[in-house]
């Protein structure tokens, strides 16, 4: 069973979200997602300053098996991206919730956070997919 930290929020499309002290949100793909994809070989990140609507595709993670879109979990503006990933995509495989974060987004409508899944809801989603 993949790791699902209790203190994070999740989406149905396998992104995780952590609220930072300054109100921005750190976003990555879950351990389950990196496990499904396998060894990542290329990651395309959004541009800092890019404005996104919730659910809009904004990054691509590519493994030898497949390329997958990553979606903006909430509406907002990209505040920072994890530039280390360009050279070292395997960082996501090694620590999806740590050094493998993808980008930080400044939310436009904080109320959208309410529609994200908590750890328990995400866990049952993964289990249902894994039946």
């Amino acid at each position: 069973m993949s790791e699902i930290p209790k203190d994070l929020r999740y989406t149905r499309s396998h992104e995780w979200i952590m609220t930072m002290p300054d109100g921005t949100l750190t976003v990555g793909i879950t351990d389950h997602a990196q496990e499904l994809l396998g060894d990542l070989v290329f990651i395309e990140l959004p541009k800092v300053g890019e404005k996104l609507a919730a659910g809009k595709e904004c990054a691509v993670v590519e493994s030898v098996k497949a390329a997958s879109d990553v979606y903006a979990p909430v509406s907002g503006t990209i505040a920072e991206v994890n530039a280390n990933l360009a050279e070292r995509p395997e960082t996501v495989n090694k620590g999806a919730y740590r050094d493998g974060w993808l980008f930080r987004i400044k939310p436009e409508r904080p109320e959208e956070l309410g529609s994200l899944l908590d750890a328990a809801a995400y866990k049952s989603l993964v289990e249902a997919e894994d039946h």
Binding site: L36, D39, V41, F42, K65, A66
Partner: protein
């Protein structure tokens, strides 16, 4: 070993070298090279052995079973190649006048008619040079149709989530936004979700039938009703035409436009990057928009080429001339060899072989992705139970199959099914060959339980062992450099 690694300075084969003072002709001095090209210096015998050995390493449908099927490589009869290579065809200039090319034009006209007949469409244009170009032509015609009616708000193309990636790519290339329709439990399109998705913005639905999941879209009548009632058009992706050839016609299913991959179904190898041919067929509604040139027959029985002049509403040209003429000729010969009845047999045997394999694999304990559905010309099994029990993955099993003399089937596609094999035997395999493959699969499962490392480290007997595809993708290095 590369032939460059055999090279020794001064070793050469003088009888086949050009003379020392080859004429540079009219090439201006500033464009002439000043250094000598780096070429391998080997003896004639070394060159002969090097290339003969390389050719012996070929893994091909001529030597082995290839369950990637028509998706990559079904058997293409020798005669199709031989006839399309007749000097009269090869020597014909594409700009030669129709009067001197009546034989070629007659073949193209008849091929249009044959494809029209086998798909149930109103007319066919042969000009797209690949499947993706055929898709582009098809969706461009849908766009032209809506625009000709002043129906300009239709901005969405619906695509099932099981579709080939080219479908959404085509829709985007034609200026549409893509809306994904989920698949239901039985592998079909989710009808309720489709009903909820259509509306005044719907330009059309792109559908592969049988689908990429290896099942026939049972609700096609309902699907076509829903899309047409919303004012959309129905696009048929011919990727899996092999399964229904001559048995069911896309035109009868209500499709408005279709592309065919002649390089899958009609006797041209598919894998290897082409050239291909992606003719398009249309019904009455889309007829004016068909890409040109199209071959027509005059009252006196002679053939001529229709262009923008005769077809002013055409979406235009997709190639300078008549498309990939050599591929079209192969398709023509194939169709004439089979005849109308033979086409049906292609579909019947392709489907029979797939269902035989599915039934036998199921009885050996393999898990079908859609156990309640009959297979079309291909089917999917999931090796997830094997992975859970032994840690051996679908990729490991695929590599072990190479040791046993079989090409691996498609792995990890479609992504909807975990640890999957997509198996397509095609119509030309004998029962003995299918049985041998099933035996190999049983052996590998036994090995996975008894000696999992044997499978995990496969292949053991091939020229190269398992490649590090992750390293290859991360540190791409395609160029060999001269040492020193």
């Amino acid at each position: 070993m590369l032939i460059f690694e055999l090279s020794r300075p001064g070793r050469r084969n003088p009888s086949q070298s050009p003379g020392p003072a080859a004429e540079s002709g009219d090439i201006p001095p500033e464009l002439r090279r000043r250094s000598r090209p780096v070429l391998p210096q080997v003896s004639e015998m070394q060159a002969v052995r090097h290339y003969t050995r390389l050719s012996q390493k070929n893994f091909s449908i001529d030597t082995h079973f290839y369950p990637l099927g028509s998706c990559t490589m079904k058997y293409n009869p020798r005669a199709c190649n031989a006839f399309s290579m007749l000097p009269q065809f090869l020597g014909r200039h594409p700009l030669a006048s129709p009067a001197t090319g009546q034989g070629f034009l007659a073949c193209m006209f008849e091929l249009q008619e044959i494809l029209r007949d086998v798909t149930g469409m109103r007319a066919v244009s042969l000009t797209p040079m690949a499947g993706a170009q055929g898709e582009f032509a098809g969706v461009a015609m849908m766009r032209a149709y809506h625009e000709s009616r002043g129906d300009a708000d239709r901005s969405e193309i619906l695509v099932p989530d099981a579709a080939h990636g080219t479908n959404p790519a085509t829709a985007v290339m034609c200026g549409y936004t893509v809306r994904e329709i989920p698949t239901d439990e039985a592998g079909g399109i989710d009808i309720e979700k489709l009903r909820a998705a259509v509306g005044p913005r719907t330009a059309g639905l792109m559908l592969t039938n049988p689908s990429t999941l290896g099942v026939f879209e049972k609700d096609i009548q309902e699907v076509q009703r829903i899309v047409h009632q919303a004012g959309g058009l129905l696009y048929y992706d011919g990727a899996n035409l092999n399964a229904i050839l001559g048995k069911v016609k896309p035109g009868s299913m209500g499709f408005d436009v279709i592309h065919m991959n002649l390089h899958k179904t009609f006797s041209t190898p598919h894998g290897g990057g082409g050239p291909g041919a992606g003719p398009v067929g249309v019904n009455e509604r889309l007829l004016p928009f068909l890409p040109v040139p199209v071959v027509a027959r005059a009252r006196d029985g002679s053939y001529f080429v229709e262009t923008e002049k005769e077809r002013p509403q055409s979406i235009g040209r997709l190639s300078a001339h008549m498309g990939n003429a050599g591929i079209l000729l192969r398709a023509y010969v194939y169709a004439r060899l089979l005849g109308r009845e033979g086409m049906k047999r292609v579909a019947e045997f392709a489907t029979l072989n797939a269902n035989y394999m599915l039934a036998r694999l199921k009885s050996q304990g393999f898990v079908a992705a859609y156990p309640d559905r009959r297979a079309t010309h291909e089917f999917i099994i999931t090796l997830k139970p094997l992975k859970d029990a032994t840690g051996v993955t679908a990729m490991d099993v695929a590599k072990r199959l190479l040791d046993k003399g079989f090409h691996a089937p498609t792995t990890y596609f479609p992504m909807l099914v975990p640890e999957c094999f997509l198996i397509e035997p095609t119509e030309t395999e004998s029962k003995e060959e299918l049985d041998a493959f099933i035996t190999a699969m049983e052996e590998i499962v036994r090995e996975a339980h008894d000696n999992p490392d044997l499978v995990r480290n496969a292949p053991h007997t091939t020229t190269v062992r398992r490649l590090d595809d992750v390293k290859a993708a991360r540190e791409l290095d395609l160029r060999w450099k001269v040492a020193g």
